[in-house]
Symmetry: C2
Subunit: 303 residues, 2 copies
Amino acid sequence: MHFEVTILGSNGAIPAHNRYPTSQFLNYNGQGFLLDCGEGTQLQMSKYNIKRGKLDHIFISHIHGDHFFGLMGILTSFNLNYREHPLHIHAYPGVEEIVRTYFKHAQTILRYEIIFHQVTADEPRVIYENDGLTVETIILKHRIPTTGFLFREKVGPRKILPAKLDQYQIPVHEISAIKMGGDFTTEGGSVIPNIELTHDPAPPRSYAFCTDTAYTESFIEQIRGVNVLYHEATFVHEHRARAAETGHSTTREAATIALKANVDKLIIGHFSARYEDLSQLLSECKDIFPNTELAIEGHLFSI
Amino acid sequence: MHFEVTILGSNGAIPAHNRYPTSQFLNYNGQGFLLDCGEGTQLQMSKYNIKRGKLDHIFISHIHGDHFFGLMGILTSFNLNYREHPLHIHAYPGVEEIVRTYFKHAQTILRYEIIFHQVTADEPRVIYENDGLTVETIILKHRIPTTGFLFREKVGPRKILPAKLDQYQIPVHEISAIKMGGDFTTEGGSVIPNIELTHDPAPPRSYAFCTDTAYTESFIEQIRGVNVLYHEATFVHEHRARAAETGHSTTREAATIALKANVDKLIIGHFSARYEDLSQLLSECKDIFPNTELAIEGHLFSI
């Protein structure tokens, strides 16, 4: 089961040093999810060979342009490329108003349906669910309503030990009940307990995407123990006053959240245009939380 | 006097083959004008070292995304970079509605003023004028109201022959009248005719930007004899049915307009994503109008 994130854009508000604004493509077992969609996202998808036909859900964290100015280009290109299946956009209502205003003036009749799902900033909610995972909102602390997104794999079915299939001649129609935890009764009437037939499934994996946000511990319990946390770190510690003023985080703040939430790995991004060299951002995080990596465009992180 | 155009984006509706959608930066004597503004324009401006502080006027040909999806990013970056002087946008009214809708939701209070000038598609008009040039709209033929833009240099003042300044001891305060065509009366009362003191100024130059458009001869008289014509050529001749269907031009059509309008040079662009190699587009134009060039990104054309 693939569960991986490709970084498409890693920069803060002003594109600089050939870094694009925020966007990430999440692939879960062949299903595509886009997390934010800054200007140029469709160009980056082409560059990194992202198959956009598998993209059915776009999540927008907030209505600042560096997180969604690439959206209309993607919607338009889908239309020109004869997309027919629906596309779901999870965003604050203003995004829908902007998109609809554009298509009205462009006199575009879309070949496919866009289904808007309204995100709210009042409390964390599960806003999407399929057989394999759930997506929850994370309430962040920024200048305007902003939400992160937490992708949690569901606990999978138990794994049957292949040797036991032979040993007890288990018929095919019994298998799904055993995977769900059921015991097996042989033809002779012996009950074989589930624990003898199966082992635990792989532990469910999780990915938290938190941008843009000032330092806040309010969501630490929600993200506790996730495999990978993406947390913005727009500024180095020295520029903490600027971070506070603009509703962003410093390196030390991002790393502190990672440490307190006991995550396995931290990825930082949304770098200010003032930093061409990112090494100080990384080293300041590593001082507090060693397993930190930079969101480098084109890099694929396996969750 | 610089009068030059840098190609920032040359592709048609879907970005492809590392080509960006339409945008051009026109520099007239240090003043900057942006002609269309497709997604990624601000990234291209950085790449090609365009000084955006000198950019005060943006012209948008029509409300199709590949001609203005980069606008909001530029407006936002101007704000983040502390721009204070006004910016003029010449466009159909829908552009203002889209821009204002975004800034409302982003809760952005701009540090600088955006002055919208409404373009209309009824007849060609001078929509901008300064000491050195005028800008006229060109009415094009596309699926929605669309205008090209014609930059015409004004006839400059006459050039005084340096030798005559000495010969007649012409005082400084007389010079501007002579440049405007006046004669000079010496202290002794002799009238020296202007023609003896000056020579003609350089002939005024002109640049016509025509995209998107189907073949139409309706503007040929307006652009007759321009130095450089940019005319879209989305398709090769073989795909002329597709051109007609979508309101675009073929190579042969663009070249025919250039020929009939007796321009000096033709630049073609707005290439369909189906063509990775552009050589056929170029050669088909050259068969009809030899002095044709491709709009290659980063290329600077002197007018």
